[in-house]
Symmetry: C2
Subunit: 380 residues, 2 copies
Amino acid sequence: MKRAKLVIGLLGIMLFLAACGNLNSSSMSSSGTNGSKGTQLTGQSTDSNYEGVIENGKYVTSKSRGVSNTQDAGNQLNLKSFEKGLLNVSQQEFSTNKYAFREGQILTKKVVSNWLARESKSNADGLNPKDNGSTSATKRNPIYLQQLEEQDYMIQKNNKLSLGGITIGLGINSVDYYKKTQYGATYETKISKAEAEKQGKAIANKVLMRLRQYDSLKNVPIVIALYRQASDDSLVGGNFFAYSVNKNGTTKVKSWEKLNQKSYVFPIADSQTSPNTNDTTSFDNFKNEVEDFFPNLSGVTAQAQYTNNQLDGMNVNITTQFYSQTEIISFTQFLQTAAQKYLPAKVPIDIQVSSTEGVQSFLSRSENGKKFTTHVFNSY
Amino acid sequence: MKRAKLVIGLLGIMLFLAACGNLNSSSMSSSGTNGSKGTQLTGQSTDSNYEGVIENGKYVTSKSRGVSNTQDAGNQLNLKSFEKGLLNVSQQEFSTNKYAFREGQILTKKVVSNWLARESKSNADGLNPKDNGSTSATKRNPIYLQQLEEQDYMIQKNNKLSLGGITIGLGINSVDYYKKTQYGATYETKISKAEAEKQGKAIANKVLMRLRQYDSLKNVPIVIALYRQASDDSLVGGNFFAYSVNKNGTTKVKSWEKLNQKSYVFPIADSQTSPNTNDTTSFDNFKNEVEDFFPNLSGVTAQAQYTNNQLDGMNVNITTQFYSQTEIISFTQFLQTAAQKYLPAKVPIDIQVSSTEGVQSFLSRSENGKKFTTHVFNSY
């Protein structure tokens, strides 16, 4: 099947991209939509996304799908930001036009479950410390490792996809929530940044050593990234704070790259320090203007992420009670102008407008875009 | 303030539009974002939308905001499709580049409430028939008029906005739901198409006569559009079936334009006839391909609207249980290819992907677009 070489970016700009180098082969379809046998790729929606791997028309889901200490409870924002952040870290080593993405196929559900648990007589593989019996917040051994994810990066060799390397994300708690009795109250053990870094790096070394035992992982680069989980009451997820690229065969992490990332919720609470007064003023002006414009507006907030104190992007959430579709249309038009006027330039920004009925409209601007594109959700 | 003359359409294509003729004036700002006094417009996101009216930085909401027999209960889909449809009908008479949109400012909450009620001793203005005392589904007088909406269309004269005409939408029930006793069971009186048309046209004549009593409405065109409400269990809203353009001063509707619109839910139920076998087959193939691709996919449905048996557009809804952001990204890429391959060409199509956590991604293609644009909702 011929590969579509035309990729239309979301943000109103047509991007003409040469089809991706090594992945472009006549023997491999870029579309999973012909129901044919064999391995295929999902196709690429933008050049900053990996193509995904399809086998016999079905998406290849992770072998350890759904296994995490956070799956049942905890802050769901950690899940999204962890996964998306891990893709971003992976791009440092595995470029999107050379590698395809496959959900982790090496570590099984059982292996990951054992690794995420405490070390114990019945589970020698536990990467979390033994239970020392204490229930005191400061004396007990907390759960450090909250989630672990494998991402596989595939390259094409002899017209087949083969493993080109993997990335492992380790989510380390900032707070470990625990109960003294079943169904009892929840207590917290706080874990400092320094402690999380120390523990995370130690766990990374164990993980690297174990991964090299797998035949398929003996001679590929293994990227390991460390993420600090946000607390359960946070309105943003956590952040990656370090990663290492471990070349073929190495069994010990030689060096770590520091990542200086931090996420904020706007408006900034009085108790918090502002990451950048220009940005916070911009947001506050936007918020005031928008709240003035419309009755029944119940909230204007944003998530903002900074790397090395530079704004990476912003997700604005506006919730309100609407009475009519015409109000939504007019409000969205108004936002298009207000957002361009007030919100920080030269970073990607999403704005989502919701009511109790769900999402009503959204606006988006890419890093280099000027105007926001808009979409109002209609119904027949 | 200088008007931005560059309008970027949602769908990946840059539209260069001349700023709208009569609305383009140095005395009127197209943006409500400077907090200044006087009348402003929201700005136009696409050329098929009206600009909205802002007064002193605040959006001018309808005088009868929130008044409807359907506000508390009933099928919410009727509200969205009624309002959006009414805008479309209005474009027949009031072009989007000559007229701005203002929410209804002439009929007050009290007037609309009285008109929507039954005629009675205490309410001579009721447009619904007197209660005849019967509770029999076939013998009682049902509520015909379920909702009424005024939309004002403004033109610029002497650097001020003035009323150029109005549109009135009348929502006529297909089923009237009623109770015999308070908190009792709900019963239904069915209203045939012929009866709804007859009653709707009679009500329209009364409304036109009454509107001409308002000084501001004596000499403007008044568009009246008739909408057949969908039943409460419908998964699509109702449809407009007729409209009339009543020139300056006329107090009786001279002629009606027929609208042959119908909405469907895909997949088509076995008991229903298909509007077009090509479209239903296309959708079924898409649905099968998509359901094959991904585990835990709980539903692929669509709303489709037809005018004169031609497909106007489609809203596809896909709901599923996702475990990870990477699955959503890959699934969205896959959909981009599958939708282009299977879904009907040359009509606007929206695809929304949701989980229990809310909307996860969406895809959209304009009437003349080829590729779908995609957006995956991220979180920091």
